[in-house]
């Protein structure tokens, strides 16, 4: 008997995809971070940022790119890295159960000696592990480039930011997994995951504009994670607990939902 056979298959069979996303994230690190000394830290860049419309600066979190940690926060964790991680996580989440059912393969798996809860949990575990691996890779590369790129990021802040970075991507990914599992449709899962990510980003960008719409920030997972610039200031551990906790709850909902319905009907 193999332990966690479904987890192993979900994890190992997607190694190409995992590797691809890892390469993308590594490229993002190597493209952005070494530019800091000549871009973010320079006086000209600060003048340019000052010349931008303040709304735009706030939306892109560029108000903080004059420091190394702020630069890494805004460009990598807040923008390109966030995007890549979210897309990877949502794609995996939507495919995990909903996609498998839609392609007709879930039926055969369920006809074997497994429970439905086990299918959801093991595949969710594979999603968690892949997201954590990617976040750990980014963390390692940032630490590697910290000296050469003169970023001056503190290790414990970096670790805290990594936990939030992974948690934020997982929230969208598990939303995709949950909706995909409940509906049996990959597309609905993708839509749900994308909605969580995009609304989170938009609510943050808009909420930061003025006092009247500040309440939007409360609804933005992106703001929960990055509101206090964790790379610069350390993690808000309550926010991290919320992100990871809600993700776990979404997986539990998916497991219960699959247990209760017909498959492939």
């Amino acid at each position: 008997m193999t332990t966690l056979p479904l987890f192993r298959r979900a994890f190992l069979d997607t190694w190409r995809s995992t590797l691809g996303w890892a390469a993308g994230l590594a490229a993002a690190c190597f493209l952005y971070l070494p530019l800091y000394p000549s871009l973010g830290g320079s006086a000209e860049m600060q003048d340019m940022v000052n010349a931008l419309p303040p709304e735009m600066t706030k939306a892109l979190n560029y108000d903080q790119i004059a420091t190394g940690p702020g630069y890494a926060q805004a460009t990598l964790y807040g923008l390109l890295g966030f995007m890549l991680m979210t897309i990877a996580s949502v794609a995996w989440g939507a495919a995990a159960v909903g996609g498998d059912e839609e392609s007709g393969q879930l039926e055969l798996t369920l006809a074997h000696g497994v429970t439905r809860g086990q299918v959801v949990l093991e595949r969710a575990l594979a999603l968690f592990l892949r997201v954590v691996l990617l976040a750990a890779l980014v963390c390692a590369l940032v630490w590697l480039l910290n000296g050469p790129a003169q970023l001056d990021i503190k290790l414990d802040n970096l670790l805290g930011a990594t936990v939030l970075f992974a948690g934020l991507a997982l929230l969208s990914g598990t939303a995709a997994l949950c909706v995909g599992t409940v509906t049996g449709r990959r597309t609905y899962g993708l839509a749900a995951g994308a909605t969580v990510a995009v609304l989170g980003y938009v609510f943050n960008a808009v909420g930061r504009q003025s006092k009247e719409v500040e309440w939007l920030l409360e609804l933005s997972p992106y703001h929960w994670a990055y509101g206090n610039s964790p790379v610069a200031n350390g993690a808000d551990w309550a926010a991290a607990a919320w992100l990871w906790g809600i993700s776990a709850a979404l997986v539990a909902v998916a497991a219960v939902a699959l247990e209760r319905r017909d498959v492939g009907a």
């Binding site: 392609s103 007709g104 393969q105 055969l108 074997h112 429970t115 492939g264």
Partner: protein
């Protein structure tokens, strides 16, 4: 001895549409039970209920003595299942895919996978998505048979297989039966199940029309008879023939010199043979009973009298 599979008043509704209207059947252990019916009759739905992939709306099922809703993984390890439409994607070889299914089903005797693959002529080292429909079907069959389960549930098992492989499959079914395994299989045509099945259930529009042994079906089926005789006027020959029980559709094909008649026969052949013995025959053709025709008649809903 307990039945291997039984269903009592099994109903299934999808939303407001009822696809199984209360079906009943029993499958004895160590027998081959074939379900035939046109597409949409409810064969796949019934099978999915046995595997707890979908849940009945009403009625009762027992698989190997256990309610599939409660049997869990332990029960499903004792079953081999081939879905009606087999989707195998992903960049894995057949061998790796089977290793995965092995990990989530019952134990497999060493060498079993290779010997099954060899029998069916399946290359296990090719990626599943490069396989033709027939080869995917073979992979599905290996997957269902490999752990020698007590019960095999096979939905349209021969679809996509060429005739030689179909023969091999029939041999595998017979061997499984001799080993005491129970086989529950479906098809939309009788010819595919009549070679192996002991009992056939005919399903139409979510109802079982009849459950019958293949022998019973054969007896009830219509044969075509044609013969040529001489020394007797056509009207007399027609009268003689029409007097035989079970004869219908008498036609005179030729009546100059010799007389050629054709007719259909339902039921026993002995009375016909006795009547023919009194004639001077120059030619006689008595066809194999046409089971397919009998079944098609049931499909189309014509009343099957005397049943």
């Amino acid at each position: 001895m307990a039945t291997a599979v039984s269903a009592r008043s099994l109903t299934k509704r999808f939303g407001r549409r009822e696809v199984l209207h209360g079906i009943d059947f029993e499958v004895e252990p160590g027998t081959v039970f074939g379900v035939i019916g046109p597409n949409g009759a409810g064969k796949t739905t019934t099978m999915r209920c046995l595997l707890d992939i979908i849940r009945p709306s009403g009625g009762e099922i027992r698989v190997l003595g256990i309610d599939p809703r409660l049997g869990g993984p332990g029960l499903r390890r004792r079953i081999g299942y081939l879905p009606g439409e087999l989707f195998l994607e992903g960049r894995v070889t057949g061998r790796k895919l089977l290793a995965h299914y092995q990990a989530i089903s019952g134990p497999i005797p060493p060498g079993r996978i290779d010997s099954l693959a060899e029998r069916l002529g399946l290359d296990l080292d090719r990626h599943t998505r490069q396989l033709s429909k027939g080869n995917k079907q073979k992979l599905g069959l290996v997957q269902a048979f490999m752990h020698q389960p007590e019960l095999l549930v096979l939905d349209e098992p021969t679809s996509g297989l060429d005739p030689l492989v179909q023969q091999e499959f029939h041999a595998m079914v017979r061997e499984a039966k001799h080993r005491g395994q129970t086989i529950f299989l479906s098809s939309h045509v009788l010819s595919e199940v009549q070679q192996t099945a002991d009992t056939v259930a005919i399903l139409r529009d979510g109802r079982i029309i009849t459950v019958e042994s293949v022998e019973g079906l054969r007896e009830g089926a219509v044969r075509h008879v044609r013969f040529t005789t001489h020394g007797i006027p056509a009207p007399d020959a027609v009268a003689l023939l029409s007097g035989v029980p079970g004869i219908g559709q008498v036609e005179v094909l030729e009546e100059d010199g010799s007389v050629t008649l054709s007719a259909t026969l339902e039921g026993a052949i002995q009375p016909l043979v006795r009547m023919l013995g009194s004639l001077e025959l120059t030619d006689l053709v008595l066809d194999e009973p046409d089971l397919e025709e009998a079944v098609l008649k049931m499909y189309s809903g014509q009343p099957e009298d005397a049943r």
